[in-house]
Amino acid sequence: MIGPEDDLPTLIGRNDHINVLRYIRAHKLRKPRTVVFHGRALLGITNDVNDDASSSGTYPPSFPSSSPSSLGDAERLSALEQVFVSALDVGEISLADRCLDDIRIAVVSGGGGDPSSSSSSSSSRYRRLLGMRHESRGEYDDAYALYDEMTNENPSNAHAARRKYCVAHATAATTTAAAGRATAGKGDDNRRADVIAAKTLDDYLRDRPGDVAAWYEMADVCLSTCDYDGAAYCLEEVVLGCPLDSSVHVRLAEAYCTGGGLANAKLGRKHMAMAVRLDPDNLRAWYGLIASAEGYLEEVDRISKSGGKNVGGGGGGNIRDAEGEGIEVARELIMLGGGKLVRVYGGSSKMKSIVERMLKESSEML
């Protein structure tokens, strides 16, 4: 096992291939080139058996392998899997294919399957990799069929369900792009692909309501259909998942503000304020803060005008009365945000003048 004092540079320096791979896996790092390099050395890509024996001579004594002369089955397969994924990452397709073949020989051929088929008896861990290869080649139909089969077989297979959505999404994106290129004749088609993708995501979220990333995707889907309430709901879910992320607060606030309505405008302002607090350097949040406060003031204005028309007399006064504090707060926020922006752009006179003009407009609107 990797000792606590070993870090990646020492392991690399020691050419301790297997522990380099283990370290990267354990810490969930994405270092595909390192993995490919050390994986090649470890697995001896030209000739499996001999190189295994020679390279394993350099293991540190702490390595608890029962048979130090060669890699154990589990270790070898894990390394192959890791190298396969990294090879796909850096685009070394031939290496990836080679790893996948080795894995197939070790895992699947025990049951005697033929190379390309994914018989339902074969290991789902292997088919996960097979799906990755399909996707990397852009064979989305094959990948979708594979994932579909996997989910049918075992509905609680979260990975397959997730990839299914990703494939559907990618298909939708490519059909959209193709339709865009070939004039707008295929509008129905790509809409259908979109709907399928959304449906897949919906199915996934019904089974996995705890998956924050899926909620984030769903927010995008909602936004693409102008469903701002829905997007706000999804983004609230994301905020619950990662409450300290400033950008998520910004997106949630934007969804609120775009949705419209007085209550939403207030919520949007509050989340923008939170985003600014969480990350004072988030300029988008500062702009958003000003914009949301302005939006709130406009909303109050609009309501007071329409209320005045409908009810007659005191309606307008009432809303201003009720929102008196809020109005003050919104103004203060605009001033605070303006001050911050001017300070940030203090360095460049050109940007500063632009920002100041913008702020002047908004302050005239007050």
Binding site: R125, G241, K270, G324
Partner: protein, 352 residues
């Protein structure tokens, strides 16, 4: 009687004295043959048996089997609910938080209908879904009906009741069975062959409370000093004491194996825990719903609600001032407009 017993006289009941015994601890000389033929062989046997047991356990370990989808879904729902209950909930505005709390703690079925459902796939809850949706809409105006997870905490117990935990129970039992059988056999053997043996003496005095623990199997020797250990007790002490030794000797499981388990879980397959710790989705969800019901909005501070106040700090308008300005809002707003715009522009000038 003689207060200085000769070292050779090994009388287990030699200390039956007139005066209260065990205070003046008599040293019993334990025969070295006991050490050579009982204590050490026992130790060796137990180490071997422990090794054997771990190997057998590895062989008997069930292969991962598909996790029931309902379990997976329930776990995921629990995760989601726990986020609401934990600190992250403060980063939502109180109204939205409360809406979620109300919706998720709502019971979908009344209890009368629980028994009738009979294990459909969990998708038979269209009515229930409507109920949940309605609750949500009333509460917070979230109209995202396409993706509302149909079964949040109140998740239909009808399907949960029949949750297929039975299947897993047998598999998990196997490993435990092996250990149990082995233990029983060894204990029987020891208490049969070495009945009444006093094997070792711990080098410190102990109170009488430890008699149960240290002198199991020596029933009639009520007056023997507690620091002497009987054979069966020795077996127990070693059995528990060796765990750490085994961990050291056999090492942790390979990293690859641990990762393999993780990947299998991701792929929806699971080894199932020990039989005692089976996941009971219905119960867990009901507990969670109860917990949610008990939380009060007022008992929490929502950071979002005060975000502006904290951001503005001293510049946050005071309540009193608001009331004052409330009187002349109609034209006060106009003057306020000028004031604030002039203020902000003067700010800008200052910066320049």
């Amino acid at each position: 009687m003689s207060s200085t017993p000769t070292p050779g006289s090994v009388f287990v009941h030699g200390h039956r004295r007139d005066h209260p015994p065990a205070r003046t601890s008599q040293t019993l000389l334990l025969d070295s043959q006991i050490r050579d033929w009982v204590v050490l062989p026992l130790l060796v046997i137990m180490i071997c048996a422990g090794m054997l047991r771990s190997q057998v356990g590895r062989l008997l370990r069930p292969s991962p089997r598909p996790m029931p989808n309902l379990d997976a879904r329930a776990r995921s729902a629990l995760l989601r609910v726990s986020r609401l209950r934990a600190g992250a909930g403060c980063y939502l505005s109180s109204s939205r938080w409360e809406a979620r709390r109300v919706a998720w703690s709502a019971r979908a079925y009344d209890d009368g209908r629980v028994g009738g459902g009979g294990g459909g796939g969990g998708e038979d809850g269209s009515a229930e879904r409507k109920i949940q949706d309605d609750a949500r809409r009333e509460g917070g105006g979230d109209s995202n009906d396409a993706m509302t997870p149909s079964l949040v905490p109140g998740m239909d117990p009808s399907t949960m009741m029949v949750s297929p935990t039975e299947r897993g129970r047998n598999d998990g039992m196997k490993g435990n069975m092996a250990a149990m059988v082995q233990n029983m056999v060894m204990m029987q053997g020891i208490s049969h062959f070495f009945r009444g043996f006093v094997l070792v003496k711990v080098p410190f005095p102990l109170t009488r409370g430890f008699k149960q623990m240290f002198q199991r199997g020596l029933y009639d020797l009520t007056t023997l000093d507690t620091s002497y250990v009987s054979s069966v007790s020795w077996y127990f002490l070693v059995m528990f004491g060796l765990r750490a030794f085994f961990r050291l000797a056999m090492g942790d499981p390979l990293q690859e194996e641990v990762e393999g388990n993780e990947i299998q879980r991701e792929l929806g397959r699971d080894y199932g825990g020990p039989p005692g710790a089976q996941f009971d989705a219905a119960k867990a969800l009901r507990t969670e719903a109860d917990n949610l019901e008990l939380i009060n909005v007022r008992s929490r501070r929502f950071k979002i609600d005060d975000a502006e106040k904290i951001l503005l700090g001293k510049r946050y308008p005071k309540k009193k001032k608001v009331k004052e300005s409330g009187d002349d809002v109609l034209f006060g707003l106009a003057s306020g407009k000028n004031k604030s715009s002039s203020a902000s522009s003067s700010r800008h000038k200052k910066r320049e």
